[in-house]
């Protein structure tokens, strides 16, 4: 049954108020703000007329959801292995942990259930739920293989003579030797935070592992080096300011080792992050924040329908010149009259794909209710 939110999602209404800058910066937020402050603000603002969650409701994006499922499955399994104090993946304990979890396929299916439930709460994605369910279920074998392959590369350190705390980290207290998953790293003075997928601490080593489901990217290297800095500056978890000695990006088919910064490199990185954080805060303190339309970011932007800067002839001209995507284009149309029970006549106002003023016919797909729009 259609709700008010399902109907309201078709109105491109900017937020009533612009969001304030996040209390602590993360690599993802910084990247979004630097790419386009307006995009970040439109995505992060509250839309109480649409739903009760934070930000603009997400749409269904298969590859993003696939990445999330792989990531959460790895998180679930590594947490269980750590909880069971599994000494290594070769050990029979690891088999027992997997049996207790019901096997890789069950873990993946359970996480897909959760992901689909989250999707169902978004008025923007609800219509795609059936397609999302079919697409994700069809990918279970592939997802199981990816999770299995990535997990097998995780190195749990051999049992140590030192007391080992193999636990899921929840409290903010000093971490000693052990394996910790999903560690929230916070450098309060720096105003930055991040979450490391896996932290392996031994008396002489500190290894940070981050699971990555996409293609290798220089931004991943930057992100894990930021984690190294946050670990060294996290006064709660690491009061002795020990340095990370090994940084690993675990991709689908291989691990990539990233240079672990030394003390002087950490200081340089700290200054660099402070400068970029200040610039980002300044950018989102303007209301509305500046829009930076670029074909690379606009074509994947999920809030571009709300962005006034995107719907200008200059931006559309730039998109027409530089945008790779030619099969689908955005179009602004004024409806001029009803043509049939599920179609309307219209006039093109703006589009990179067709001339302004051209006549258009808009056809309704499925049970979409456009009454009164």
């Amino acid at each position: 049954m259609e709700t008010n939110a399902d109907s309201a999602i078709w109105l491109a209404t900017p937020p009533a108020s612009w969001p304030t800058a996040p209390a602590q910066m993360t690599v993802t937020t910084l990247s979004q703000i630097e790419s386009c402050p307006r995009q970040w603000a439109l995505s992060a603002a509250d839309y109480p007329e649409l739903w009760n969650e934070r930000g603009y409701p997400p749409r269904f994006h298969l590859s993003a959801l696939v990445g999330t499922v792989v990531h959460l499955a790895l998180e679930t399994i590594t947490r269980a292995l750590i909880r069971a104090r599994c000494p290594s993946l070769q050990d029979a304990t690891a088999i027992q942990v997997m049996k207790d979890l019901g096997g890789f396929t069950k873990v993946v299916n359970d996480i897909i259930d959760r992901a689909l439930a989250d999707l169902a709460s978004s008025p923007r994605a609800r219509r795609s739920l059936e397609f999302a369910t079919r697409s994700l279920r069809a990918k279970v074998p592939e997802l199981r293989t990816r999770v299995h392959t990535m997990l097998c590369r995780v190195r749990l350190p051999p049992p140590s003579p030192y007391p080992a705390a193999r636990c899921v980290h929840t409290e903010r207290r000093p971490l000693t030797t052990g394996v910790f998953s999903e560690v929230d790293l916070r450098a309060k003075q720096l105003g930055w935070k991040g979450r490391a997928d896996l932290l392996v601490l031994s008396p002489d080593e500190c290894e940070i592992i981050d699971f990555k489901t996409g293609a290798p990217d220089d931004r991943h290297r930057f992100q894990i080096q930021v984690y190294a800095l946050l670990w060294s500056r996290d006064a709660d978890l690491n009061p002795d300011r020990k340095r990370a000695t090994r940084l690993v990006l675990a991709y689908d088919s291989s691990d990539v080792e990233v240079h672990a910064p030394n003390d002087s490199e950490l200081e340089v990185l700290e200054t660099h992050l402070g400068t970029r954080r200040d610039a980002a805060y300044l950018a989102v303190s303007q209301h509305p924040p500046q829009a930076r339309p670029q074909p690379d970011s606009c074509q994947y932007c999920s809030v571009r329908h709300l962005c006034g800067e995107y719907w200008t002839p200059e931006t559309q001209r730039q998109m027409a010149q530089d945008c790779d995507e030619q099969r689908f284009v955005d179009v602004e149309v004024t409806i001029t009259g009803l043509r049939g029970p599920s179609s309307w006549d219209g006039r093109v106002e703006l589009s990179r794909g067709t001339a302004t003023g051209k006549a258009a016919v808009i056809r309704k797909h499925g049970n979409l209710n456009l009454a009164g729009r």
Partner: protein, 186 residues
């Protein structure tokens, strides 16, 4: 012909006998052909579909529909297809990649089994490669791999679609090389 020739309606009235006859034809090709031939499924009229016809896959689907028999491929066919994949992987001549066929392995907590293809890559990481039937994705043809696929935390089990191996071997090989971290090393 407006409204069709009425074949679909007649099939509905004939009931199970049509499916039983179809299964008989699929299972008993006089030529004992590999996939399809002019003695069982092929005719001039379906010449554009010849490449898509596989009597064994069709028979396993019908056996499941009529008798509830889980879809399965014959051992000989699975062995033949596994050989195809193994030989194609070997043919790539990738330095440091060790391939072993029908290798016994044992993992604490699980029953001992035979790896259809055991791959060791240049970094010393091992993978077990097997096949699944096209109607049962991710269900290994080899029963012994089932537990390992779900519970074996230290050695990944990679399963390929038997039909893809037979019909599009380069795709199957490329996907495998990607997963074992050997893509682009040919």
């Amino acid at each position: 012909m407006p409204g069709g020739a009425g074949f679909a309606q007649r099939v509905g009235r004939l009931g199970l006998v049509v499916f039983q006859d179809a299964l008989r034809i699929l299972e008993n090709c006089p030529e004992k052909c590999d996939r399809s031939c002019y003695r069982c499924l092929r005719s001039y009229k379906n010449k554009f579909e010849h490449d898509l016809l596989d009597r064994h896959v069709g028979a396993s689907l019908l056996r499941y529909a009529l008798h509830g028999t889980p879809p399965a491929l014959g051992t000989t066919r699975v062995e033949y297809s596994t050989d195809l994949l193994f030989n194609d992987l070997e043919r790539q001549g990738i330095d440091g990649l060790v391939l072993e066929r029908n290798q016994p392995f044992s993992i604490p907590g699980l029953t001992d089994a035979i790896a259809p293809i055991l791959v060791t890559n240049g970094s010393g990481r091992q993978f077990i490669v097997g096949l699944y039937g096209p109607l049962t994705p991710d269900e290994p043809c080899d029963e012994a791999l089932r537990d390992l696929k779900e519970f074996g935390a230290n050695i990944p089990v990679i399963l390929e679609d038997e039909l893809v191996v037979r019909r599009n071997l380069p795709t199957a090989t490329a996907r495998l090389l990607e997963l074992i971290g050997a893509a682009g090393k040919q």
